[in-house]
Each structure stands twice: as C-alpha cells, then as structure tokens.
Amino acid sequence: MDIRTTGGPPTADEIAAVDGILGSPESIWEGGGRSTQDDHLARGGHAARSQRPLLLPVLHAIQDRMGWVSRGALEYACRRLSIPPAEAYGVVSFYGRFALDERPELALHVCDDIACKGAGADDLCSALEKAFGPSGKTWHRSACLGLCDRSPAALVERAGVPEEREEHQVAPITLEAAQAILRGGRPEDQPRPQVVQRGTVRLLRRVGVVDPESIDSYRKAGGYAALRRALELGSEGVIREVTEAKLLGRGGAAFPTGRKWDAVAKATVRPHYLVCNADESEPGTFKDRVLMEADPFAVVEAMTIAAIATGCEQGYLYVRGEYPLARERIEHAIGEARAHGFLGADIEGAGTRFDIEVRRGAGAYICGEETALFNSIEGKRGEPRNKPPFPVQAGLFGKPTLVNNVETLVNVLDILGEGGAAFASIGTADSTGTRLFCVSGQVRVPGLYEVPMGTTLRALIELAGGLREDRTLRAVLLGGAAGSFVTESQLDVPLSFEGTRAIGATLGSGAVIVLDDTADLEQVLLRIARFFRDESCGQCVPCRVGTVRQEEALKRILSQRETSLREADVALLSDIAQAMRDASICGLGQTAASAIGSAVIQLKLVGP
C-alpha cells in the first residue's frame, strides 16, 4: 500500500499536535524530513500499520489543538500511522466531534434533547439562532450531554495549545451565560452536584463524601479492601461470588455478569482484554458520569478485580467524549493507583499485572454498542460487528474480551465486601442488588437515585420529590430513547428486569424521564426520531434507511389531521419497526423504533 497525499503540507501547529502523541518522525517514510538513509531503507509493513489504534487519539489531538481536522493534518497523521487517507477520512467523518471544515476555536454545544427541551432548551436555541446565526458555526445543537439533572445543559470547547485549551460542562446554562461564552467569556467551573438522596445508598455511598482526587480519602472510606479480598479469593473465587450474587449487566442488555466473566476466564486464546464501557450516551442517562466524577477510584478498583478474575493484563476505559471531568478524574485515579502499586506490573505484590488505558469517545452514540466500541478503540469507524462471534470469544483485536458497564463493575466491590449471597438478598429474586436511576424531566428534584431492584416507579418518582404542584403526569420515558413510554396506570410497575419486561418496557440504561402535562410530547417524539436518524451508523439497510423513513412517517402523522391517512402511516411505522427490530445488525437499530412505537400504542397519541 502506497500512501498518496495531495493535500499540501500540514501547519506547524498541526505537526506539533500529532507529534505530541507520536513523537517526532524518524524518517521521510513517516512524514519527516529526508535523510540519505531514507533512499536505501524503506519503513512500513506490519509494524507501521499496527499503530492504527492510535488514530483516534491523534485525531483528538488535532481537533483539540486546531478546532478542526484539515486535509494537511489528516494526511500527516496518515503518513505517521501508515493509514490510507480514504480510510482515515471515513473515520473522521464518522465521529460527530471531529470537524472537517474550518471552524472557530470556540464551540458551544447546547443540548436540545428530551430533558433539556422540557427545561427551555428550545427557547434558548432560538435566541442563540437570532443572535449568532444558525447552529453549526459557533454554537451547535447537541444530543443529550448527560447533564439531565441540571438541564438545560451545554458543553464549551475551546481549541488551542494545551495551556489554553478548555472543555467545560455548563449546566444549567442561561441565555446570558451562553451569550457571554460566545462573546469570548470564559465560564467558571461550577460546583459539582452532590447526591441529594437521603437514606441508605450503596453504590453512591462515597459520592460526595470522598475526595475524588485523593486515593487516601478513598482508602479511608474502605477503598481497596475489595481488591485485597479478590487477591485472596483468586479468579475462581471471585467469579463464584459474582455468579452467586446473580448480578446482571447494568448497561441495558442485562446479561448475567458471572457467566460472562467465566467465559472470558476460560477462553483459551490469549491475551484477554478488559473493556469498561463508559460511553454513556443514552439520552437521559448520567449515572456512570456521576460515578466516574465522584468516585473514580471505585471504577479503577473494580476494573482491576475484573481483570484478576478473567486473566486480563490490559484494560481500556472508553469514556464518552462529552465527559471531560469524568475523563480527567479517571485518568488522575489511574495515575494514583499506579503510583501506589494498585495497578501495574505487580499489583499489591501479588505478582499480578494489569494496567488501564483511557480512550476517549468522539461523539457517536453507537460506540456504546460493545462491538462498535471495539472498532473505535482499534481506530476504525464505530460500526457494530455481527454477532456471533461474541466478545467473550473474539472481541477487541479479535481476542476474548470482557466488556462491562461502569455501574455493573462498581457493584462488584460490594459483592466482594459482603459476599455474593448477601448481595443476592437485596432486590428481587431475579434482579438482585440496587439500581441507579437517572431521574430527570419534570420532577421537583431531578438527580441520581439508588433504589433496590423491584421498587415501584411511583416510589422512585416520589423519591425525586414527585411532580411539581398542580401538574399531572403525561408519561414517563423509561430507559431513554431506546426505551419506551409508560403511563400513569403503569406507575406501580416494579423496577426490575422481569417487572418491566412484563409490561413490555425495559430498564435500559436507568434513564427515567418524567413528562408532565406541560410537556410537548410531539416534539419529544420528533426529537427521538431525529436522534436515531443522526446516530445510526449507516451500515445496515433497516436502520440506515428505516430511521429516516420513521422520522418522515412520524412527521406526516403529526401534521396530518385526517384519520384514514394517519392510519396508513401508523401501519407503515409498525412495518418499519418490525424490520428494524428483526433485521438490524445491532441493538441501536433493534430498539430505534421502540419508544415511538410505544407512544403510538400507550399514549394513543397518533393512533386512529
């Protein structure tokens, strides 16, 4: 493969950004200057091409420094990493965070997703449109930023040299604050939310209590006791406890964690990889962000335990691109853990080796899908793979891989602390333990709540302060955009995997978006349809075209007053939905019609 570049030379800043990750090029073959030796010695081959997983970190470095990825910069990156420019272009254009047109250094991303919509995001966006022109230049409409407890939310990015660079979450954001930022003002760091829940919490017990930047504070609060216990128990012992705890995955699919760990531990192919899925992007979900921001050592410790149990020496934590603080805290925690011998070549003197690399998402919801996430780590477009083979057989880099969600992993600390059987006694028989719920929308106190599995939805909403005065409930969107709507009559549903399944709903990612009678349900549905149209990876036909047709049909239904024509479009929606559910490659396509479908059925919003 010859790399042909025709885009002109990169600028000095662009070279500095790329070299900041890769070091200086050694020869003309990697984009450096020519030396006499280069005429006789070619470099390339497998060694050069094996650097492909560095593509996303390099692209982030360019975007961070320049605010966009120019042709010269991309081609320089291609030379350095031995990647064909057409492929690299395919990767850059896949991820929402990378801009391919020159842009100002400052970018303000304003969330107009469901929860923020209910908090006035649309008015904010129209005001910004009047003052600063349409979205896409300096300010950008954005899907959920995972700050739904403080909506409306925004994310400020300012490109530049590392000292000047900025990335801030601003929530709630006001029009005045947004205008000030766009006129060049620098937002101040905001106080972080504390857990508002009173009473017993388990997963949240250290949130707001320990200093997230101090390993000593974490250890004083009982941290790293579970790791010691894991080293005593050994792989089989840990897996036995996790299996006995009957822990089910908290990312959305509810797969038995013990079985997954066991399969990876027993896989004969080596090496094994561990991936912590922290690419939390389901609209209305922010639980993993809170855990990472407020209790990062717990995530690192839990990953270490999982690695010991499954024989992984290398772990990756793939954190959502829109979570700068979580990333910073996790990276800091990893550094501290390494310095204290909790990570590295010889963990706790037990001869076990494990280390973690943080990977940053780049604005693609689909990368929360485990196999798309692997492709993203490998430096490719985040397109999901067909299963089988499953990750436990052939995952990251084609090797057996354990992939778990942040909340799932953090549960393991308690399982080792109190024993699997004790853990299993909490919650219901089939859904053990507690669950984090991200309650947002029109409740008095939006926030992160932890309740035992099986608690009713009504009780959860009460815990969040209930509805505001004189308001009545219109619907609750359970499980985010990929979830479904439930109504007043279903509020007594027990929040457990089997309880929600019984009414045709799902716990999903733990998002609970409450909509009262002031909510504009039609706008909510259109936002969901737009979300899936924007976030489909485009690989398979049912999802790529189906999400577009779904949005078109929904728009027609909402604007069509004549019943017979509406009926035809409702039937069309259900036809599309069935094909997406049955024939899409991954969970995104399979659930992209679920919320809209449930609105048609449950809310009779658009029915005949």
Binding site: R71, P542, G546, D582
Partner: protein, 291 residues
C-alpha cells in the same frame, strides 16, 4: 478439470432448512446450505470472492432460538440448527429491506434477479411517499469509469475490492454516518487526485450500475447501449504472463466493456488497468486502413 486442493476432510453438520434435513460440511454458511437445497435466497452485499459484510440484510433467515433474524450470508451452520427461509417474519424483513432501498436509491440497473425478488416479496417502495433519496449528479472525472452514487446501495463491495479483498489500493472508503454514509475518496477528491489505480475491480463487483465503464455510460446516454446486440468473447489478456481470462463485451464490432469470470482460478473476477481498460488498440481502425 483443474486440480484443486480441497483441504482436510470436514465434519458434516446436520441442519434443517424449511423442514428439510440437509448435511453440509462444518463451516458452511446458511446461504450455501440454502443454495445446495436450491432455495433462491436474495443477496445484495454478498459475493463469493469477498469477505461477507452482512450489511444489506436482505438474506436474513429465521433461526430457531434466535431473538432476531440472522444473515444467511455470514452465519455458519451449527449442529441441529433449524432454519426458516420463508416465514412471515423473513418475508416481512426482506420486503422492507428491498422497499427501503428502492425508495432511496435508483435500482433500475440492478440485475433482473433483483427485480424478481421485489416482485416475489411484493415490495412497494412508493408507499413511503415523498421520501429522502441519495439522488445526486453523476461523478465523471476520468476517461475510464463513472460513479453514479444515486444508484449506490452502500453494499461495501467496491471498498472491499479496492482494499484487502483484492486490490489493496484503499482509494475509497465509507465516509459519513447514517443516511449520509457514502463511498468516498479522502475529502471527496476526484479520482485522478486519489490513490485509484483504475483496475476497475470496483466496477466488477458493483451490483447496481453505480460504477460503470465510461464507454457503457456514454452509450447509455446516447441510447445506443443494447445488451441483446452484444457478444461476449472469451480470451486471455495479452499484456503479461499471469494469464487473466478476459470477457470482451462487443457491440457493433467494438469492445464496450471488459470483465473476468468470478470463478476463474487466476482472476477471481479481478483485473488490472491494462486488462480492464487497455483494449483501444484492438479497435484502432485508422491504423488498419493506413496498413
């Protein structure tokens, strides 16, 4: 008959397809098993010579015990697998896939077989009403072939042929996301500025006529393209010693297109720029007359 190494003996796996038991070697795909049973299974992104990408989803079948339908083209058989190829669910998804594609892409130049599947599954793409399409102007930036992406169903075949499955040139890739996903060179530069070596192997695998010889395109524009008047002459490429087999498509005593059979042991359907496009000398009539 050529000598072919058939590999080590394989275990046979018994599966049932639409109630009929069949024994196939381990590692066979469901699609191959269906073909063995003469069950016509629609495929668009699948080709024997390319790695299955299973993206078009038109070959989906129902497998007992599986929550969702599975792509026949890439799913390998497992012992006692029970496959349904014509259930209501299968027919529904196949119909929808064809409808969704045909409502967004110009599929007029697809093989007759594809139109047959549309009829078989009752596909009515017009029921989506005024729908977004991928319609766009044809890209003509060189003398050898044109790219009409309003006919592109995004089957990934050209990318595979340009990449590791044949040519290893990597001049094109899939760019963008969702409905905006498209085949592109880097920064959509024109082909002469890209890494393209004009082997034409992308044209060889394109199932929709999105990639087409310039000669064919010009004749279609002029209304003179007529496959019923074309003769296919098989020959061996004269340029080098590899021995690639060529199929010369001739109309009015002029070569209008060159292909190579997919099942040819030397080419597997792939050629290089010389075999694919270097035929003008054959029809330099001016030289003949000057004698």
């Amino acid at each position: 008959m050529n000598e072919v190494f058939v590999g080590l003996p394989k275990r046979m796996v018994k599966i049932s397809v639409d109630g009929t038991d069949v024994q196939v070697p381990e590692g066979t795909t469901i699609l191959e098993a269906c073909r063995r049973l003469q069950i016509d299974t629609p495929t668009l992104c699948q080709l024997e010579t390319l790695t299955p990408v299973n993206v078009c989803r038109v070959c989906v079948v129902e497998v007992e015990g599986s929550r969702v339908l599975v792509p026949a083209c890439s799913r390998k058989v497992e012992p006692e697998m029970k496959v349904l190829t014509d259930s209501e669910r299968v027919r529904h998804s196949r119909r929808l896939v064809l409808e969704l594609l045909a409502s967004s892409v110009d599929m007029a130049l697809c093989a007759q077989q594809v139109h047959g599947w549309m009829a078989r599954y009752g596909a009515k793409p017009e029921r989506f009403g005024a729908a977004a399409t991928v319609a766009q102007p044809v890209k003509i930036d060189n003398d050898l072939y044109v790219r009409d992406y309003s006919r592109c169903i995004l089957c990934y075949k050209c990318v595979e042929a340009c990449g590791v499955d044949a040519q290893n040139t990597f001049a094109i890739g899939v760019a963008g996301r969702g409905f905006d996903a498209h085949i592109s060179t880097e920064f959509t530069v024109e082909l002469p500025d890209s890494a393209c070596v004009y082997c034409g192997n992308c044209i060889g695998v394109c199932p929709t006529g999105a990639l087409m010889f310039k000669s064919e395109y010009d004749m279609r524009q002029a209304g003179t393209w007529d496959e019923s008047q074309q003769k296919v002459t098989e020959t061996v490429c004269p340029y080098c010693g590899v021995g690639c087999m060529l199929e010369l498509h001739v109309q009015d005593n002029s070569i209008v297109k060159v292909t190579s059979p997919l099942d040819h042991s030397v080419t597997a359907g792939h050629l290089c720029v010389k075999g694919r496009f270097g035929f003008q000398f054959v029809q330099q009539r001016s030289r003949e007359t000057k004698g």
